[in-house]
């Protein structure tokens, strides 16, 4: 396979820094991905060349800054195949995007006695905003269970989508189990029952080609920092008719049309949901991250990662003493496991001493940990710059961990 892995790794200077005297093996991409110099340089250029507040000024720098910001919006629209750029709303991240939908969709479309569905494998950011909404509006929050192999119990889904149910919030790829949910089919089923769907794409957007038109989802959310972009940026995609009907969330400058003390009117999409000065530097960086991925090609990235993932499964299963969580037929991008009899904190601490960065604990998915009766897992999550030799380093590291506990 012709994936330019050496060139790619050079784009990420941080990958060559040592950690505890050893080469860094960065396997915590599920928490955040590293940022290529192309993205950093794009943001530097904003500060050095045309930094200016957007939309409101008439001078040259302001126009350049506005163009760069709106160009990034168009890049994101194209990246996920949304119909119009007014359906792309910039937020601070996935969490904020979900909170926005919870608030505004709730206000527009829900009433006391209605119901919502989330799954047992959701990240806290796709659980708590709905809990808060349910409390505020006296809604019922129902849970779609997860099977022992880490797949959703899809057989249980139709019954949950009853006549009182308005929305289903579901993850595209699980941040703990690596399960790739059949979101297209789930959306079709939900729609047949009159239920809207929000898809949490935080762990998917950089691993697989996302086509919101093909998925026909009502909302799709993701974060910039997980897709090799800067922190503090994120995207909410929504169907135009839904976003139009939803009331504003945060009020302030930019999202208004006219402000009078007798009453204010609101701006059109997308600005209605973008109050105040946005992180326009970060958004330009996000656009540069989209460019970076588009240049490599999502299909090429997915193919490379598929091979790497298969190698990781083979190497780690080959050790013979790891318990894996998440063995769905369709899975990828990360592996959660426990070395038998060893607490994840202990394993992760020792791996860190060897320069290997993994994540341990509940991964912001406590309900899922409770379901499996474990305190947490060790999670190795892969990115487009990881290599087979890094997987080998992890395998050798786990052998050393085992030795220390023998």
């Amino acid at each position: 396979m012709n994936f330019p892995i050496d060139e790619i790794r050079k784009d990420f200077p941080i990958l060559s820094r040592p950690v505890n005297g050893r080469p860094l093996v960065y396997f915590d991409n599920g928490a955040t991905a590293q940022t290529p110099r192309q993205v950093v340089e794009a943001m530097d250029r904003v500060y050095y060349e045309h930094n200016s507040n957007i939309h409101r000024g008439i001078h040259t720098l302001s126009n350049l800054s506005t163009e760069a910001f709106e160009a990034a919006r168009e890049k994101v629209r194209d990246f996920i195949n949304a119909a119009e750029s007014r359906q792309i709303i910039f937020t601070r991240g996935t969490t904020e995007a979900i909170n926005l939908v919870a608030h505004s969709f709730g206000a527009a479309f829900m009433q006391p006695g209605d119901a919502l569905v989330v799954s047992e494998m959701e990240h806290h950011s796709n659980i708590v905003p709905w809990q808060l909404l349910a409390e505020r509006m006296q809604l019922e929050l129902k849970v779609l269970p997860v099977l022992d192999n880490g797949e959703l119990d899809l057989a249980a889904l139709p019954a949950l989508l009853d006549e009182r149910t308005r929305l289903l919030a579901i993850t595209h790829i699980s941040n703990v189990l690596g399960t790739i949910n059949p979101v297209k089919e789930i959306v079709a089923l939900a729609h047949s029952k009159g239920v809207k769907v929000l898809i949490d794409g935080a762990q998917a957007i950089h691993h697989t080609k996302v086509d919101v038109a093909a998925l026909d989802c009502d909302f799709y959310v993701f974060s910039g920092h997980k897709m090799y972009g800067p922190t503090g940026t994120g995207v909410l995609y929504g169907k135009a008719e839904l976003l139009e009907a939803m009331p504003p969330w945060q009020g302030g400058g930019e999202m208004i049309q006219q402000v009078r003390f007798s009453g204010s009117t609101y701006n059109e999409l997308p600005y209605k949901f973008e109050a105040g000065t946005p992180d326009y530097v970060g958004v330009v960086g996000l656009g540069a991250a989209v460019d970076y991925l588009q240049q490599l090609g999502m299909a090429e990235i997915a193919a490379y990662e598929k091979e790497l993932f298969a190698y990781a499964v083979e190497r780690l299963e080959g050790l013979g003493d790891l318990i894996f969580y998440g063995r769905a037929a369709q899975r990828g991008s990360l592996l959660s496991f426990l070395p038998e009899g060893i607490h994840p904190f202990d394993a992760g601490t020792l791996l860190d001493k060897m320069g290997i960065a993994v994540r341990t604990g509940h991964h912001c998915a406590q309900p899922l940990m409770d379901r499996f009766g474990i305190p947490g897992t060790v999670r190795a999550s892969f990115g487009l710059y990881n290599t087979k030799s890094e997987v080998d380093a992890l395998a050798e590291g786990l052998l050393k961990v085992r030795q220390l506990f023998a």
């Binding site: 904190f345 202990d346 020792l350 305190p375 220390l404």
Partner: protein, 141 residues
């Protein structure tokens, strides 16, 4: 032995081990050797929940001195717990309140006591000092 002498003893033990693997090996050994935590005290009240690992702490007073018993589900945390108990066990409340616990840094394990490391250790030390304060107040009456 004073607290300072106890801490010095520990620092010497660890300074002989320059390799991180040996240090953690010792820590794991200490964790495994820690006196068994009495099950009757393993309650939610005595649980200090961290993001990464759990710690149970139980304290009692005898003849003006404070004694501790602790446990963790992570062995490395248990090892550090063992060291803390070695230093703070059977001391007066004031000794516990004033102990700087510099030895942890000296043996290269300071990272485990940074507040962001939610392994329960920082909360445990705070709890130990609170026990000391509570017993000090009680004894003063």
């Amino acid at each position: 032995m004073t607290i300072e002498e106890r801490e010095k003893e520990i620092v010497e033990e660890f300074s002989m081990l320059s390799d991180w693997m040996d240090r953690y090996s010792l820590l794991i050994e200490l964790g495994n050797d820690l006196t068994d935590f009495e099950e009757e005290h393993r309650s939610n009240q005595n649980l200090i929940e961290g993001c990464q690992s759990k710690v149970w702490l139980y304290a009692w007073e005898k003849d003006g001195l404070i004694y501790f018993m602790a446990d963790s589900d992570a062995i490395i945390v248990k090892g550090i717990v063992a060291l803390l108990i070695r230093v703070l066990n059977g001391r007066t409340p004031d000794e516990i309140l004033e102990a700087p616990l510099a030895f942890v840094d000296a043996i290269g394990l300071k990272e485990h006591l940074s507040p962001t490391r939610s392994n329960g250790l920082v909360a445990m030390i705070k709890q130990m000092r609170m026990y000391a304060l509570a017993y000090k107040t009680k004894l003063a009456r």
